[in-house]
Amino acid sequence: MRISLAWLREFVDLPESPEELRAILDDLGLVVEGIERVGEGLEDVVVARVEKIAPIPGADRIRRVVVDAGAGPLEIVCGAWNFDEGDRVALAPVGAVLPGGFAIARRTMRGVTSNGMLCSGRELGLSEDHAGLLVLNDQPGAEPGRRLVEVLGLVPDVVFDVSVEGNRPDAWCVEGVARDLAVRLARELRAPRLASPNATTPTASLAGARIEALDLCGRLTVSVLRRVTIAPSPAWVAERLRACGMRPISNVVDASNLVMLELGQPTHPYDLARVAGAALGARRARPGETLTTLDGVERRLATAGRGLGDTGEDCVIVDGEDRVLGLAGIMGGAASEITEGTTEVLIEAACFEPMAIARSSKRHGLRTEASARFERGVDPTLAPRAVARLVAVLEESSPGLEWLAEPLDVTGEIAEAPTVTLAASDVADLLGTSIEPDEIRRLLAGLDFALEGDDPFVVRPPARRLDVRAGLEGRADVIEEVARLHGYGRLTRRVPAWPEVGGLSERQRTRRRLRDAAVALGAFEVWTPTLIAPSEHALIELGPPVTVANPLSTEESVLRATCVTGVVRVWLRNLERGRGDVALFEVGTVFTHPDVAAHPRRTRGGVGGRSEVDLPEEGERLTLVLGRPGDDAVAATVLARALLGRLALEDVVVRALADAPPGLHPTRAAALVDRASGARLGVVGEVDPHLVARLTGGEAPRRAGLVELDLDALADPTRATPAPRTIRLPSRFPSAVIDLAFVTPDALNAQDLAHALGATDERVESVTLFDVYRGGAVPSGARSLAFTLRLSSPERTLDEREVAQLREALIEAGRALGASLR
């Protein structure tokens, strides 16, 4: 919200320095996001009348303009097109320095000398308008040669851009900000001048007001103004509006906007002659009804929207013949707007149910200054005062105005203001800071909270504080106000302590160990997007996509089901840059559509959390791509074992896979299987060359190893069996080392054989595969597996006989599995 310092000063005496004020506003939670100085540097700008406009040969963007600025004809080159001969515009003569430090000099363009510059509203720092020159025809006193600051009544001002939080609709106006400042600075808040009805004719004799949807419209007031002269607003009104970023239109509309900015109450003026029966009503829109709003868009009313719980309810304002005039609280219709010929005006000042306005505004994609205020909540008692202020402002530019007596005032359902009990001890309990009861009373009373009793108080918030709830929640709301006005910076700080210790879960520790291990093994961690293109999802067959309904682009519209594609893509991109000699990994979430998920997440959903909804299964994977020259499935297997070695698992077997999962090389893939539980902890192999080919659009450049570990399985001790905690002390006696080579059928897994060998006798210290041989005397369908075995006893050095006995037992163990000594 843009807010003028000069305007604020009308309400409360303030410190000189804008920076000092900024600090105070920040501390009140009215955060200043920017400070702008307006009306400075315009001392030299004068009004000029356009005498002649002529083309410049060879130039199609600029024209030669002759103006009279009170001292005879002056030639100017100008690039704007929104004016004609006879118009009055703003001229910055040579030597003037505009806001922002732009100095005007004499320049020659296309052989034409320009003796100054004709200015747009933005160049003068008066508005955001940069589409054309600021045209001053409607401005009283805009005579050639007069200084612009005099004509516009400009006083240098400072505009704060204040961010008002959603729970402070009461502060979303000049008076509201001034009120907070008055309490903080302990100064008086001055009230603006108000008018009173000055005609004896009762409003009811001419106009009507009714509310049919009592739950949607809390209050509807209708006032009638007669003998209205439509004219430009006085300079001060236009200036206030411009400072706040609004464009002055005409005195009636401007007064309505000014009051909204000043007091926070949106009002809507209608041309009385164009409202059938001069009556306004508020009711629900009916299905099939349409309305063309002021922005020229035809809107279908009462049509259910996509939003959760949106029934399509719209509150509309209708005329005496029940025809729809406007979307209540959001935007009016074109048919009844104020025109130059308007002489009688109906003023609607109302308040509406905030949630209804919010839903309508969202559904129609129509957010206006009015709707933004109503959806946050407008003080239901404010309407009459706002109209009185509107008329007071309008009277200045429409002398002889008549305001009919006894404006109509109909009320719907207005929630009663809550009461909150509050003791100083409640404040201390929540804030940890003791504040004296008298101080609590002073701070709250300054904001017009009514306090009864004396610690505990019974607190009643003013009607404008719609954010304050009842009961315990209301107590928190009120304590926030006490804290805010007291100053957050003055509150006590205490570092809390509790007996429970902090720490990481087993899963988090597992993740950290794996990540550290991957880095220690030379891999680089990457971060690839979880939102991908549908075509990317289709590259690997992993079930239906989990799709985003409203993506920013189709490139980011599906939640990934695997990290493989992403990490491979990163590898290929780095390969293109000549840096593909790396191992890359990501620890990330993958999503499986609930229709195909093994464990879909059923959780509370729907309005009020009253129904259930199936959500995607979210898994976590460590995906590692080994992309260095020579890397392949073998390297990946060794690396996978090294990674898993960090987790102290009992035994993980690398088992060939008949059906490699999508993304893996079909004949170079294996599962990492927990021996005890049989659970799959991950897969290992090579990246499917077909996938690489599709990502590059050509041949796969070279092999790449792939490790994918399932963190969900690894963090689950029933799946990933931990190694026994007891540690065996190594024997003090030397170990005997023997080598055994077995001709082993292909169907027998090398690690199963090694495991059987190791389990033969407790004196077997270790079994290590050191050679695999095929061909020669080894029959096809089998290979020779050579193991080094270390044998030892904790009690003595094993003698030859014992070693020979053990050797026999080991050979027998192999034979039992179908492996014969070579």
């Binding site: 501390d27 939080e165 959760l308 719980g309 919010a358 839903r359 946050r376 804030l431 800071t433 009961g471 929640e473 928190a476 926030e480 804290a483 805010r484 957050y488 509150l491 700080r493 509790w498 902090g502 990481l504 988090q508 990540r515 030379g522 961690e525 997007p529 979880t530 985003v548 309904a549 409203n550 939640l559 991109r573 780095n574 840059r577 840096r579 790396v582 620890v587 959780t603 959903g605 729907g606 909804v613 199936d614 959500l615 995607p616 979210e618 499935a633 073998v634 390297a635 297997t637 060794v638 074992r641 060939a656 090389h665 004949t667 170079r668 294996a670 090398a750 050191f770 050679d771 597996l785």
Partner: protein, 356 residues
Amino acid sequence: MSDDRLDPATLADDLVNRVHALASLDALREAEASLVGRRSPFAELQRTLGALGEEERRTLGAALQAARRRVEDELEARRALLGAEERRRALEADRLDLGDVVDAAVRLPVAAGHGGLIAATQRELEDVFVAMGFTVEEGPEVESDWYNFEALNMPPAHPARGLWDTLYVELGAPETVVLRTHTSPTQIHLMERAVATGTLPIHSVMPGRCYRRDTPDARHLVAFHQIEGLVVDEGITFADLAGTIESFTGAYFGPAITSRLRPGFFPFTEPSAEFEITCTVCAGAGCRTCSMTGWVELGGCGMVDPAVLDAVGIDPERYHGFAFGFGIDRCAMMRYEIADLRALTENDVRFVEQFS
């Protein structure tokens, strides 16, 4: 048709037989020109068409087209079949039993790897909080509207929802499933679990990935990382919140950096605050980064709203709670002076290798 040899259908039969006899992709490529290409009988026949009358030419031309298409189709089918066979053969030749891998046969890299910047930052933050007595909790990224909004005191169409540009997932009724816009739904899960298992109090931080429907720029990505803290215990006050934030600020950013709170608004906390820390660029002296104020905004915090405690079945008369949250990515940006967050998703090795 004077010459049987030139009957297109018969010709096609003959050529299709030849296609079926092709045994390899190489043979197919070699034969292609003589089957359907420029050296094929079709091309030869085509050339004779000119000599014929118009009607005959049209009839024969059409028959020729059909016959050629038949052969072409067969050729493509054969190509696919042979291709698949050759791929299968190649894969078979490539077959490797990974159970036989000999560890000693492979040299593991000795070069140092590099952890991700966001992961590293998250770990540093977690470590600070763990040392302060917090546990670390995690939650899902896809949430129901209830957990992301309504249980946090934001019923449907609540204007405060406008603070978050939400990405919805196509599951269930429209707009009922969201990509979480903040890590706060994890607070709800955590409190529900604590109530169900009788394990109050809670002292936890919750890091995680969140999403917003906002065009990415140097400081914002569609997916971003946040860490939130939640303490629910008896006797907890706003003073504890302010003290915790101050403690964390000093521990993470260094003793020269301090914090301050100012009023703010979040639907799920009351009182609410924004917290700012000393500008790390100018150490509080005032610079462009901090708009000359000496302070930069880091996150939001407040006392858990009684309505939120109520929604999860915690007695707000007995328990108070505080919560805070801020961006992990933003911390990384500040600490490593990264000008553009988008560099993080580029994953250029030359960028990653600068991380320790």
